[in-house]
Symmetry: D2
Subunit: 367 residues, 4 copies
């Protein structure tokens, strides 16, 4: 019942703060015999790492992962895997002048009210730095999934930054890795660069929408009615810092559809498996995967650390103003892409294990 | 780790199918000493009950709740409370002709693939009938909350049906109970009636967006980072049948805001508590309540049971067509309103208990 | 995190009181496709049923189980199974005279102190009647196990009643069902009958030790280090009313052994599986099954309801005396035998599912 | 549902192996505002540390704890606390010659069968070294308890080593810290030294019984019926390496008592609280604390690492013999004393938090 854990059988507990000595993920329930090296995990951490271009925070963290337990002679043992990342560039002096002021739109006021603690060093536990632990755990989940469901491919990308949406007709998977925004649309990548550069220089920030797709997930994973695949995905994404909305398939727009428009018609594919005329469902019906692409979107609010003066109060209850200097992301949504992928990987692996546990393998074969 | 349970300390497990002998909620962890009668629970079930007007399914269920345990001499004992609702109007013959065909957009295909079971009687466990159990549990949660946080008020209402949105400038709390749509806008109520009547007659269906607001929730409930209040609310709402998207506060639109626009500025209120210039956050920062209104929205897709012919397949893998006769809701979102309220009540009570358990009471007093 | 639940994947939540309208078990996570009828469950309830002979309480309960959900057309659907037993012979008037007095050795004082509730009707939730729900769940677990591990056989029996132990050299499996004490020793059965008859007539009661053996459990189930098979068995048995001690294999006597005496030497069997010279381990090493018999013992204290006057106090804090009339068991340990079996069945099924979930099947083959 | 976690609200997940780079405990749910320094934790680790006298393994570990998260400016923040202990004296070469042989009575065979992994380096995850993490978590629990229930005192001691029991009439609390066996009986300490010295020199080992007492625990903690205080204590103790039996109060001997002998009679104390004539119950009735001393005992089997030749098999299925050289404990029970204390501390704190969460404070006042 830990509040800092997620997952049922593949269970991840993250720990650590922005400016403490280290942070990490304690991962329990990983299948044994999975080949894992630090490099495999590092690959994903490097995607998320700050300071890689001018659009993300200039904090420089090596984000080097150490595997402290649960892996022996290069394979997982089935026991808890401790993934630790040491903090190296804390520079907590940057935060000195906001020590007693709360940032509007930031969790420091609610943490203080609840716990009576004001960890002014970069947000403490509420910092987006916590997401490095998720990415490490997600890297592990991907390796474990290779043995269980080798066809699964998980890809995240941005579909909106501020008012700018991608052009779905120009969607190109190959573009995603070609630009700093993980955006599947070359024109958008170029336009957004200009837009974000202006925003960055003005000391402002903006929100974004990320879409994560899992292809190749077998039908039948997920479970009624509070352990639904979409329930767990929704919780996983909403738990990421700054996320304010989550959508599966058609998402909020499902409200506008009629039953006729929404129903994905069913045919038989040449492979003897059901195929569908469309995917309004986002690959999930009744909380259980259909075999279609799992499609999840989430919205990330703009970071609250901006250079414009805002009204706020101090710990002592005095009204004042605040400007947040420091090294921040003009669009924190960019770095949320690998985080969303990691959460998707963890949730899908967890449900693969749960399904194997309760059911073994699918019991209903069509045809 | 039950897949049919939610909540941490106030833990609800629902059971039962659409056409079995009964369904219900097993509620564990309710505080002792809470005055509860069946009538208090029944009040909320009656709100959700089908067949109350022409806009909801004509299935007639008494939906009478029985308290089988955990209440003695009119108060809760602190032990599990079994809330049972017997099914009285199953009429499973209505479903006979779709026994072997899967409904596009419905969970019967995924349930079959996973479990090998085809409970054709009204969707079995995937039926929206399951939500009666949630409403019963929510009614109990409301009673328990009265002692712990008497100021909390939870209200749900529709804000969109198909393409039609409410006029926020005409928002009127008093309208909500005055129309069959729980809509806080008299004009919308009238317009929607005409719209839905046409839809119903044509045998079609449509989606909707429901908003649930909790007023009077104290600051400080919720917990980092996977037990966040918004994480749990998101999971709670997404677990409701047919929900495809969940938003907190600004929701998906947060993507379009700049940091300046999004930040709710902070002042000191006359009561010595922080107050905010706006509520883009939806009452939650870093997963912890701010003391502002908690605002959650969710989108419900249109029911898949429609009178228009759709392409589908049979259990045997033959392509065919389907029309779903029977007694269905043209806008299942209407009856989702009390369900969303119930989930909000359960989640907030649970977090009040969790907060009391770990922290006792808020440790950081501002001013 | 429910306090009234046990199990990880096969998760049982019991509810109900001694003298409420009904009690039962909500079982989640049962594999789908298991053939189950009420009669299969009833078989085990009948073993535990009170009033079958003069050595158990004369309360007459039909203990008829109803399956309210989760079974369709005779097989489990994979969704929650509600097993309900209605109380028919409550006779709460028997308890009237002890309404305000606490029974020494009984939970009514601690329940009152904690919850402020005095459910004087037969102990309420603390009554041994709750164990009927466990037996029902255990019956279900046995059926589910038949498909997963058909060789498993679970048998409980008494090995001690008061000062009288069985003669291990006379151990006879066939005797167990031949006498009212489930004792595998014909001479003991006869001696104990005389002993207990005397005790019953004098209005006294006595404790007992029950041993439960699971034969045919495959090697490899259980998991380090807090989900060990013996950890879960220990919790399962200790949770039974009146249990004060639990032993695995050698149990408390392991303290007296040297390393040489304790080590079960290992050989290769003709079937290519390891075999052991002895079973001091009780079939579990490091929390994981060895393939040998799983052997668990637990001690049940004497019931606190006796006809001898004892000193006690009232709710008002007045010192007084108490005699507990009513219909009680002179040796409540007798009826604990099927309860212990049921708990063993649930725990083993749960760990079979967990093992399948995390590992699939054993990865280390010897030889 | 992690298999390497225990506790409900105060939740401890341990990780790490005997010979990996480090091991530790991830502790979630600790109340905020608890003053904690590494020294406070170190105090308890030093009690358990190996190599302190000739009766424990000569492995030399500094067992220095580092607090990597969850403590800021000397107090707990309410977020996860990572307690890490680096391994410094692994000397895995000692284990080289048993690389492919299974030790009779040791978990290496079952780990191998289950996971297909043979971590020959000192038992890997099944090593008693894991208990250092528990002791660290227990130290933290003790600090947190000071604020919630300042009167609680937890003390463990040995009551039996091999065939030698303490003389209860000579029980002296002050002796416990005066000898290497934590034995409350000066004569026993002297006798056992001679006995164990002989055993050590012969390369043998022996079992032991440890008793842990918690004094000053308020009435009312614990919960029916699977979250009982004794259920959780039983699981906590049984999860310790080499434990084969657990007793509460009278324990297995409860079987021999009559109802008259077992019932602890109740009086009113001068302080207006109930007092009892005796404590057969071990401070727990119906799973809830009575306010008397909580008394738990557990038996530890002799370590399987002995210098006498035993029959065993290899990974390849060949029959062979084994002698376990290396640095082992002749009576591993000695070092189990602080481990048992730590588990008691964690369980009691957890139940104090749970009680506060669900009930607030005791609702039933006697008198």
């Amino acid at each position: 019942m830990s509040m800092n854990s997620f997952g049922h059988l593949f269970r991840v507990t993250t720990w650590g703060e922005s400016h403490g000595p280290a942070l990490g993920a304690t991962v329990d329930g990983c299948p044994p015999g999975v080949p894992v090296t630090p490099e495999m995990i590092q690959h994903w951490l490097d995607k998320r790492k700050p300071g890689q271009n001018k659009y993300t925070t200039q904090r420089r963290e090596a984000d080097e992962v150490k595997i402290l337990s649960g892996v022996f002679e290069g394979v997982t043992t089935g026991t808890p895997i401790q993934l630790m990342i040491e903090n190296t560039d804390q520079r907590s002096k940057d935060y000195g002048d906001i020590k007693d002021k709360f940032r509007p739109g930031h969790a420091d006021i609610t943490y203080f009210q609840k716990y009576g603690i004001r960890d002014y060093r970069g947000g403490g536990r509420s910092s987006a730095r916590e997401t490095a632990s998720r990415v490490a755990a997600g890297g592990l989940a991907r390796e474990a999934m290779k043995a269980m469901a080798p066809g699964v491919q998980i890809t995240g990308y941005m579909v909106q930054m501020g008012p700018h949406q991608i052009d779905r007709t120009a969607f190109d998977w190959d573009q995603i890795e070609q630009n700093p925004f993980w955006v599947p649309d070359a024109q958008a990548a170029s336009d957004w660069a200009t837009y974000l550069d202006g925003l960055r220089k003005s000391g402002s920030s903006v929100g974004a929408i990320i879409e994560v797709v899992a292809r190749g997930v077998p039908a039948g994973i997920g479970a009624p009615v509070y352990g639904k695949l979409d329930t767990d995905l929704s919780a996983a994404m909403m738990s990421i810092n700054a996320v304010k909305g989550v959508e599966i398939g058609e998402g909020m727009s499902a409200a506008m559809l009629t039953g006729e428009a929404n129903a994905d018609e069913i045919y038989m594919g040449n492979d003897g498996q059901p195929r569908y005329s469309s995917n309004h469902a986002g690959g999930i019906l009744g909380g259980i995967s259909t075999g279609q692409d799992i499609v999840v979107r989430f919205a990330v609010k703009p970071t609250s650390s901006i250079l414009t003066t805002r009204k706020t109060i101090t710990k002592n209850g005095e009204e004042t103003e605040i400007i947040t200097k420091g090294r921040h992301d003009p669009c924190v949504g960019i770095r949320a892409v690998p985080v969303g992928e990691a959460m998707m990987a963890c949730v899908i692996l967890d449900h693969l294990l749960l399904h194997r546990g309760q059911v073994g393998e699918n019991r209903g074969i069509i045809g």
